[in-house]
Point group: C2
Chain length 292, copies 2
């Protein structure tokens, strides 16, 4: 990743210098946010930091308004949207159940066509997912903070209407940023509003869901099931009840893989460096107050 990022910076017409002399900083080691304070020490010319993440929680406590921050939000969305559709179709066709079987059984499952899909979050994932869902003639509702209509969605509503939408939802897709406001927003009360055959697909962050409430809902079958690419805690520890529930499918944060993720991030970083060099607006800017 480091080498690839260096090439991207150079291709964009910028010069690679020591952090202390840098005007912009491209963070190429997602696993070591802790090194940030020492890295920028004495970097008095620094005005911009490009983070490699879509969700910037690992850096959240470093954010400050003296710098401009950009991240990878939206960049990985085409890859994540594929994972969402894979999980949606797997739940419709009971692939988690059949994968675990060692005997021929009866046909289970339902059609995705004409289902009611609610997407929580109106960012890149929703934008990339809607075209993938289009051939299925689903009834799609996007729930987002602003309520501004998202192209391709049948309905777009503001978050305060979420409780009205849940009872009319066959599949609830979580694809929003994790903030103070969205932490734990899918709790037992909201799961109770879903039809009892509804599935939850979470490709956002595990913290959006109150895990204990989810375990209870899955155990009591008050919802149909859950397909989780993210969990809380994450990684999900061995022996956790979610591992053994027949109506739960867990993937280990594969929304984007290192392989596909880097391929998407590189041209994006190159473009942002080019914009920085040319003093143009940057892409995927972080709102430090909102935290995403």
């Amino acid at each position: 990743m480091y080498e690839a990022m260096c090439s991207a910076v150079k291709r964009a017409g910028a010069e690679l210098v020591d952090p202390v002399d840098a005007e912009g900083l491209v963070w190429a080691d997602p696993a070591r946010p802790d090194l940030f304070p020492s890295t920028i020490q004495g970097a008095d010319s620094l005005s911009w930091v490009q983070l490699p993440y879509a969700g910037i929680e690992p850096f959240a406590h470093h954010l400050d308004t003296r710098l401009r921050w950009t991240c990878g939000k939206g960049v990985y969305a085409p890859a994540v949207a594929e994972t969402v559709l894979a999980l949606i179709l797997a739940t419709c066709k009971n692939l988690h159940g059949y994968s675990r079987a060692s005997t021929w059984s009866g046909p289970a499952g339902r059609q995705l066509a004409n289902s009611r899909i609610t997407v929580l979050g109106g960012g890149g994932i929703a934008t990339s997912l809607l075209p993938l869902l289009a051939p299925f003639d689903c009834q799609t509702t996007v729930v987002r903070r602003s309520g501004a209509a998202l192209p391709g969605a049948d309905h777009t509503v503001t978050v305060d209407l979420l409780d009205d939408v849940l009872p009319e939802t066959d599949i609830l897709v979580l694809a929003l940023a994790l903030t103070r406001e969205t932490t734990g927003m899918i709790d037992s009360r909201r799961m109770g509003l879903l039809p009892d055959d509804a599935w939850i697909v979470n490709v956002a962050r595990g913290g959006h869901i109150v895990t204990d409430d989810l375990v209870a809902a899955l155990t009591q079958r008050s919802i149909g099931g859950a397909a989780l690419d993210v969990t809380d805690p994450e990684p999900l520890p061995d022996g956790h009840p979610l591992w053994s529930l027949p109506n739960c499918l867990i993937t280990p944060h594969i929304g984007n893989t290192p392989e596909t993720g880097l391929a998407l991030l590189l041209p994006f970083v190159e473009e942002n460096v080019r914009r920085f060099v040319e003093h143009r607006d940057l892409l995927a800017t972080v709102d430090v107050a909102l935290g995403y």
Copy 2:
């Protein structure tokens, strides 16, 4: 199914009579093809039989050219195409593997976007599948007897070119009728032509694949894996090696379920009865010589 079929026949403007007096016969019991000879005994006015199957193997030995035969080919295609995409995406995202896991693991899987998909068969399933694949910008090749271009496919080729297409295939979808010519056509030689990370998705009939050859290829990992909605033998017996191979996902012939299948078959039968009453061309006619 019997009651629903009776209603469909009446809605189409036909009269329900005993078989012995019937001009047309709608076969509403898919599980009992053996009853056919006794049912039509003395039915001297009979000129048309509507079968409920997409593939008519259970009736194959009853076919004769004195009657006109129609079946359900193409009718279930929208439902089966959903299953095909579900299986394709499951193989791309390793959902069969993750479904079986009870511990957090690393990211595996690849993008479907820009993959090379070869569909064997140019009938209803291919026709319904191609629009579902369209948003993924795959390179699609349809292999069919006639070679007539299928709308939405990047390439359409005749069956004699199959061996040239296999080495350029990431995912091979079997969606063709089972006939003498197509039985066992995917054998060890042809699997050897596929890239070693290619997957086979079979929603047609188990007999298209030489099962022992498939078990060998999966065991030796000379192909990536197989997602099978149909098997040979079917049902797949307990303890069969395919059940325990990590790169094999088996679904028990769920391409269409009784629930979704009947909903698709009813309006189709109604339309065909109406056409019969009005002496118009029938849909989904069986070519007795070709056997589908």
